[in-house]
Symmetry: C2
Subunit: 247 residues, 2 copies
């Protein structure tokens, strides 16, 4: 048996998310199904992060143990030949047998795209949150600053999650300006782990600050409150991308 | 009656093209249908260029004469409220009654996107031609140079077109390097008019040069031959965008 590390991209618009669900098409299910004829048995593919329905990936990582002797490049081509065009394997590497995409991940980077323009965009509607009223990016930057570091992010955790600790470390937050076709505003956050809906709840809160409905200094209080009701709304799934997983 | 100039964007993936067809959904048909309840009668919307099935627009222009007294901004919002998300009106202006989007167009700019990377892209597959073998961009630039200026472009005209003259002027050709997500190679061409499939046949020929199957100097001979069989294959519709119409 060999362990393989798959790096993949997907447009999440048409899927119920990464994880296999009782109903609906998942990305995990697509890859496991594509491996069936190669491996002649059911295999489980472990993803680094469980992206929700409608969330995209530029660099999701998955691990799988296979008996099949195909070399890495051939396996990548074989999978891409049967996967739909909106799911692409971009790299296949043979790794140490102990490698596990989720447990070994040291950090993850998510991107969230916002189109801050009067009109929506015919190309970005699946890939960005369209906000027509002008946002003050300096206020959003100021509001984001207190989030960097090790904190209890309970105030930014979506309901329905069962985790032992809500402490996480955000290593970096960066912004890239934009506003035209294929150049929306990009919010990029790197951390050692993220709670359910954490990135989308952070973005929703920063947008409140950018729209002038929240003072940037209040973000520190929201964090300290550890109460979900203090933070802003959950930003829509369509703008979120799992950009990179670091090992 | 007032004449209105509409500037619009569309993702052409799901449409039979700009022009109304006996079967299938066209962009022109969508806009004319959206105007019906506003105008309470059938109107004809004239587009600057007839984009083919699968071809996109970043800045298509259309003109229409309306009796309805809605101001321009309200009309834009009313249309966007009923149009599908992949068709967006980005500007509405009241213009001189004689204005006609097609007859008054002085120049048009098209963009063609090529993803020159080993793997296809889960996000660009509807918006770029994926070419896995490496292309020599310097050869493509050299091959494009003889096309600038006034020429008989009969060799680059698709079949089935009935035009009086095949002479056109290409004012400018530009390239923008790229290769990653939302940054494919962009070929940008501006001219006073384009024959049927002309941009896609030019791109197909330049790709032949970039792949080493055609010497850049041969482009001058292909142009002089005025024979379609001399030029390269027609590049796929998915990579083409009507970017701008100048009046």
């Amino acid at each position: 048996m060999r362990t393989l590390k798959l790096t993949l991209q997907y447009d999440g618009s048409n899927y119920v998310g990464w994880q296999r669900q009782p109903a609906g098409q998942s990305v995990q299910g697509l890859i496991e199904d594509a491996l069936l004829p190669i491996e002649s048995r059911a295999v489980t593919v472990h993803g680094a992060g469980r992206t929700d329905a409608g969330v995209h990936a530029l660099g999701q990582v998955a691990s799988v143990s296979l008996a099949a002797s195909l070399d890495a490049a051939t396996l990548g081509r074989a999978l891409n030949a049967v996967l739909p065009e909106d799911v692409r394997i971009i790299q296949v590497e043979e790794v140490a047998p102990s490698f596990h995409a989720r447990f070994d991940a040291r950090a993850k980077t998510y991107e969230y795209r916002i189109l801050n323009a009067p009109f929506a965009d015919a190309f970005l509607y699946r890939y960005a949150w369209h906000i027509p009223q002008p946002l003050d990016f300096e206020r959003m930057r100021a509001a984001a600053a207190p989030l960097v570091g090790r904190h209890d992010f309970a105030a930014f955790q979506g309901s329905g999650a069962a985790v032992q600790s809500t402490e996480r470390t955000i290593e970096d937050i960066a912004w890239e300006a934009g506003g035209t076709f294929d150049r929306p505003l990009v919010f990029r956050v790197t951390g050692d782990g993220f709670l359910r809906h954490m990135v989308r709840n952070i973005v929703g809160t920063l947008v409140e600050a950018g729209a002038g409905r929240l003072a940037p200094a209040q973000v520190r209080d929201i964090l300290a409150s550890r109460s979900r009701v203090q933070a802003g709304r959950t930003a829509p799934a369509r703008g979120l991308f799992l950009a990179q997983v670091t090992y």
